[in-house]
Amino acid sequence: MSMKRRTFIKAGAALTAASVAPAIVRAEEKVWRVGGSLPMTGPFATAGQLVAPALTDFTMMVNDAGGIGGKPMKIEVEDSGYIPKNALANFERALAGGPLHGYFGDSTGFMELVGPSLTGDKAVMMMSTSFASSLADPAKRPYQFMAGPSYQDQVEILLRDIADKGGETVALIYSDSEFGRDPIPHARKICEALGLRIVLEEVTKTAGADIESHVTKLAQANPEYAILQGYVTGVWPQLIGAARAFGLPTQFMGTFWGMEKVVADRVTDQAGPFLDGYQGVMPYRYFYDMEDAPYYQEVNAWKKNQNPDFPGYIVTWALEAYINLLIWKKSMEMTIEADKPITADNLMASMRAINDWDTRGFFGKPVSLAEHKIGQGRVYRYSAESKLFTPVSDWIET
């Protein structure tokens, strides 16, 4: 009897070991794991739902090409509903699920929330959808970076462009959110330095803004240029539409999140051509402009191969995800090449060492990431007829 029991226990132990063993082997970094939170529901679901497939596409492309350092990568995306606390829970779960080599955050709020806790073995190289100025801070936020200019830089690019073109009066219109307010103090400083006069500073609700009152104030101030900040899909098209219907000559300008062709096209199709002439700063080259962009051509060919009906356009929000992941991949490769262990510190050190790197499309000039951001961008202009954003400035560096 006792013999039997012993054998039984042995068998049980062997079985357990056998079932656990693969888990241990898996933990031995067979894949490079990247976690991610995206707002698939909630106020920014539009953005999240467009970005999520891009992450998967990127993974498949990298793995088709042999992975990173011979190992495949894997992205696990979760929904956050644009609530920082939920994203933090997602992050913790991703951490608990084994070695994590990168994380894609979904909001400024999450990045601020998780920032202080990224220490020791919790440290992970972290990219995000946000361009909040406070995140490009190598001293205070050693593990977070952004693949583009901060909102402050973006507004500065716009203001420099306005000054170059002889503009004198500017209105700053922004949503009452952290996102909307981020670059405003900096914008005031730059305006003073460039001799631009701010004739109106208008705070709007983030959604369902009182368009009539805003247009009334805008008409009274009558600025030559109006910079819109802190909107994604709402408010800005309505505001411009009302201003055009009113007959205001003001030139409207937006930043990254208000510069998406898909949104502008939809407004043009469904409401009318009033976004014609709308300008704004975009850190990246638009995807349709792939002539000088070998990377875009590769993505395009791959997508065409996957789906013959691919229309040949990838939203800028997804491009942001691509370039973020490319920078991560580059840092991985540099770290592997230097034969260092893959830790967040080594990755970030590699990333900071990226200098004069050709992004093969995204940016016009070679980039460096010493400051955890890429201070580059171009001013584009939308045409309702061709439905394209075409550049009206050179690449401006800040």
Binding site: M40, P53, I75, V77, D79, A89, E92, L95
Partner: protein, 350 residues
């Protein structure tokens, strides 16, 4: 609506646990909570800590909504008051003993509770709910302002201090867990105890019929105000722990969403019962995570499939709340009661 508990002796009325199963169940639960960190990872501890904090807050809401019968949709504000009080205190005294900040946060939140409670004599039902909801918005508005930013961090939120116990900084989730759980247990027990006293019974009297209660000599105003203060104090404590638990706090953490979640937790668990908040919080906080795990498992983190899955997850979550209301209107606690009834009467019941 619960109309009362049937008891045949004063001893039964005064006992903290009315049967052996509850007593040993409590001991078992404590033991489980103590050993949980031994085999739980950071994620589980994050959830556990979060749930414990919510339990405290929902218990507070229970004092007001479940026992006193006053509706509030503004408890997020007390949460915020507690959290920001803790952060601000640490700006002036760096290594303050956490229990002191906890106490101060409780007192400050109770003060705010007094303020919120002032209209509660005149304003009733939904009007009171919306009055508190408005107060919630207004308090958050002040927290967000730029002139308040040096203390509150404004819209950007602010990094929170770590609790220090005798030179030992609480950094890991495990340490934070052991800091929060005892406080949570103590506060839940305190609530259980509260309703064995004259004071607690007076509140229940007000809930069941405020005019009758007044005729019986209960000062409505004094008791409603005290109930508001106690309820706010619980949320203040939760807020304070929240500040210690998370690395940063943002104003939108404490918005209407939180206030509604607290009430939903209470309803799902069962109003006017001590265990109600515990069960309700477990259910409401764990369902989204479970659904997320299920969707993660079903989609393998594939972004393309996730688009549909997140919408379905929302629908399922909403349906669970609705189905609970339809089929289990007294909350999870009534399932629990039925279970114990069956156990106690076995084999004479099913």
């Amino acid at each position: 609506m619960i109309t009362g508990n049937f008891k045949t002796s004063y001893a039964a009325d005064e006992s903290l646990w009315n049967n052996w199963a509850k007593r040993y169940g409590f001991v078992l639960a404590v033991v489980f909570l103590l050993v949980l960190p031994l085999f739980a990872d950071n994620y589980v501890l994050l959830l556990a800590g979060q749930i414990a904090i919510y339990v405290i807050a929902v218990t507070g809401v229970n004092v007001l909504v479940g026992y006193t019968g006053l509706m509030s949709l503004g408890h997020g504000a007390f949460f915020a008051v507690g959290a920001y009080t803790t952060v601000i205190l640490h700006q002036y005294v760096e290594h303050l003993f956490p229990l002191i900040t906890l106490l101060v946060s409780i007192v400050v939140a109770a003060g705010f509770g007094f303020l919120f409670g002032l209209p509660s004599l005149r304003v009733k039902g939904l009007y009171l709910a919306v009055a508190t909801l408005s107060a919630n918005f207004i308090i958050l508005f002040f927290i967000r302002q730029d002139w308040a930013a040096p203390w509150t961090g404004g819209r950007q939120g602010i990094e929170t201090p770590n609790a220090m116990f005798f030179g030992q900084e609480m950094l890991s989730n495990t340490q934070k867990y052991y800091f929060i759980i005892p406080i949570c247990l103590a506060m839940v027990l305190f609530a259980q105890n509260l309703f064995r006293t004259r004071f607690g019974r007076a509140l229940i009297g007000i809930r069941d019929n405020d005019h009758s209660a007044e005729i019986l000599g209960i000062s409505l105003y004094a008791y409603k105000l005290k109930s508001f203060a106690i309820s706010a104090a619980y949320c203040g404590a939760a807020g304070s722990l929240w500040a210690y638990f998370f690395p940063a706090i943002l104003p939108e953490d404490f918005s209407l969403n939180l206030s509604i979640t607290l009430v939903v937790c209470l309803i799902a668990g069962g109003m006017g019962r001590t265990l109600g908040p515990v069960f309700g919080t477990l259910l409401i906080l764990l369902i989204p995570e479970m659904l997320k795990i299920v969707s993660g498992w079903a989609t393998g983190g594939d972004g393309r499939a996730l688009i549909h899955f997140s919408s379905i997850r929302d629908i399922v979550f909403g349906l669970i709340i609705i189905l609970f209301l339809i089929f289990e209107p007294m909350g999870l606690v009534s399932i629990w009661d039925r279970f114990w009834r069956v156990v106690a009467r076995w084999p004479f019941s099913k």
